[in-house]
């Protein structure tokens, strides 16, 4: 079983269902549009801010504000890519055609991650440039120190969120269950843990909080986060690896 055959097959699968197009375009549109909106609001608010807030003002990070919502569409994309195999019963047809389960799973994830990376990168660059245009005089330039890293990091962040979701969906098999856990986790629980000082120290090791550090250029005043941008991304990568490993081990052992 040549892996290239399976990669081709998975590409056909992913391009031939409507959910791919609508989840990825929703992720891009929401991230970009909300980023522009918040950039515009921030520009108007800037003069009313306190000194600390003005010193902590991070125009690059502000233009990625839409990602908090846009990432939910990325999660749906990741969940559906894997979960639809189970919910439709296609998994039995797929595994009869490709009985090597590692080849099957990692080909599927490679194709979906590749597509998410392309969409994530384009989204990140557009969100940055349109966000900076909206920020006007307070904007950052792509040539400023750390900015290019943050913009590329935004694309990587969206990709990793999608791949993490694929791993979780492989473990749970049900798209509804996966979404029911991932959505509140990323949209609520992570934010709540981050907002309360007692749980903040735990919260910042969660995949989204650690990973989003890469999109920051200016360190907020009084920030004591013990890792840098790449350290944060590495923590997120560990989460992704753990989810994929868990998914693979279960897929390997389970009856289809």
């Amino acid at each position: 079983m040549a892996a290239t055959q399976v990669l081709k097959s998975e590409w056909t699968k992913i391009r031939s269902v409507a959910s791919t197009v609508w989840t990825l375009s929703l992720a891009a549109v929401v991230t970009i549009a909300l980023g522009i909106l918040i950039s515009l609001l921030s520009k108007n608010e800037f003069d009313k801010m306190g000194d600390n807030d003005q010193l902590s003002f991070d125009p690059t990070y502000i233009s990625f504000a839409g990602m908090s919502l846009g990432q939910l569409a990325m999660i749906v994309f990741g969940v559906l890519v894997v979960g639809n195999e189970y919910s439709t019963g296609m998994i039995r047809t797929s595994l009869a055609a490709v009985p090597q389960r590692a080849t099957f799973l990692f080909s599927k994830i490679a194709v979906a991650a590749g597509l998410a990376l392309v969409v994530g990168m384009i989204t990140s660059f557009i969100a940055f440039f349109l966000g900076q245009a909206a920020l006007g005089t307070h904007s950052a330039s792509i040539s400023d120190s750390g900015v290019l890293r943050a913009v590329i990091g935004g694309g990587l962040y969206m990709t990793l969120i999608a791949v993490f979701s694929m791993g979780v969906a492989t473990m749970l098999r049900s798209p509804m269950l996966s979404l029911g856990i991932l959505m509140p986790f990323f949209f609520l629980i992570s934010n709540i843990l981050g907002a309360v000082s007692a749980t903040k120290k735990i919260g910042r090791y969660l995949p989204d909080q650690a990973g989003s550090k890469i999109m920051r250029v200016v360190t907020p005043i009084g920030d004591d986060t013990p890792y840098g941008p790449w350290g944060g991304l590495a923590i997120m990568v560990l989460w992704v690896v753990a989810a994929l490993l868990g998914g693979y081990l279960l897929l390997k052992r389970r009856d289809a």
Binding site: Q5, K13, L95, V98
Partner: protein, 328 residues
């Protein structure tokens, strides 16, 4: 070593050896050993819940056996390079993504096994779905879904084909089509393994029978032998002059079985012969009718002990447990 065993005589065969599947305490498939041979349709028969689908899933490497072994062409399923070229299976007509077109469904399967794209159009034509090839599978009727599943099974031009309850829910035209397809595939020398819970269906298509009940092998026999052994033909007679008739038949060397409510049964004899004997001796007959015990009856008898879900219509309650209770 496994490779060295792949002698030519094992080609196109499915071999099960001691195949067992347990779910906790429950034994779904219990030490099944049999071989499916090429060139004929082999029927895989058993009541609902007998373990047919579980067995088929293990044949395809989807479920892991608790014990025992299945080999396709002498190899384990997951050692087959491009398995769709060895064995094609229809397990479940719904095992596809409804949002994908028929063409793309088959294309992704073909690509995964290095099967050329042109073959997709060929099999769509074979099953008669060319006109709806670009339509989404979720709009398909059960019959069309079944045809698409069969197209997927035929995709790799495999020498072994496996169908799980292929006629379920089909209209008469679809049933007719599937029967002919299976026969022609076997006629081409392929191995065809098809499951059903209907004896009458198997009698029309299969040349060989494997019967299971509660996961155990109950019969592995040719259809001709099964029919010869199990379809009893006899003549039923009722007469007000029963004693005299018994004597007459006895003198003629005909063995009579007395069945309930005063009727007599004569195995094998022709009703004409009995009628003429009765006329010679001026005996009145109220009934003289040739009877044929159906294969369905024979199958019911064979699996009666192992039917998992009884409908308790005509059995008194104290007897229902008998099938499960090994002591009785």
């Amino acid at each position: 070593m496994a490779r060295a065993q792949t002698a030519s005589y094992r080609v196109r065969m499915i071999e099960l050896e001691g195949l067992t599947k347990r779910y906790g305490e429950k034994v779904a498939v219990n030490h099944l050993t049999f071989t499916v041979r090429p060139g004929i349709v082999t029927g895989f028969l058993g009541p609902n819940g007998a373990g047919k689908s579980t067995t088929m899933r293990m044949m395809l490497g989807l479920d892991r056996p608790t014990a025992g072994d299945v080999r396709i062409d002498g190899q384990h399923y997951d050692h087959l390079k491009d398995p769709l070229k060895y064995i094609g299976a229809l397990l479940d007509a719904k095992a596809m993504h409804g949002g994908r077109s028929a063409f793309n469904h088959l294309l992704c399967l073909a690509q995964s096994n290095g099967i050329p794209k042109a073959r997709v159009d060929e099999v769509l034509d074979t099953v008669g779905l060319t006109s709806v090839a670009r339509k989404k599978a979720k709009g398909f009727s059960l019959g069309m879904g079944q045809r698409l599943g069969i197209a997927g099974a035929l995709l790799g031009d495999p020498r072994i084909l496996m169908f799980d309850e292929p006629v379920n829910g089909l209209d008469p035209e679809g049933i007719h089509w599937i029967r002919n397809l299976m026969k022609s595939l076997a006629g081409q020398g392929r191995t065809v393994f098809v499951s059903s819970h209907l004896m009458s269906e198997m009698a029309l298509t299969a040349e060989h029978l494997v019967v299971i009940g509660q996961g155990r092998l109950l019969a592995d026999t040719s259809m001709a032998d099964f029919i010869a052994q199990n379809s009893r033909s006899y003549v039923r007679i009722r007469s007000p002059q029963r004693e005299r008739l018994l004597d007459v038949l006895h003198e003629a060397g005909i063995t009579v079985v007395e069945s309930g409510s005063g009727t007599l049964e004569v195995d094998g004899a022709k009703s004409e012969q009995i009628g003429e004997l009765a006329a010679q001796h001026q005996l009145v007959l109220h009934e003289l009718s040739p009877q044929q015990a159906s294969l369905e009856d024979a199958f019911m008898q064979l699996t009666a002990e192992s039917v998992e879900y009884h409908a308790h219509t005509d059995a008194p309650p104290q007897q229902w447990g008998g099938g499960w209770n090994k002591e009785t």
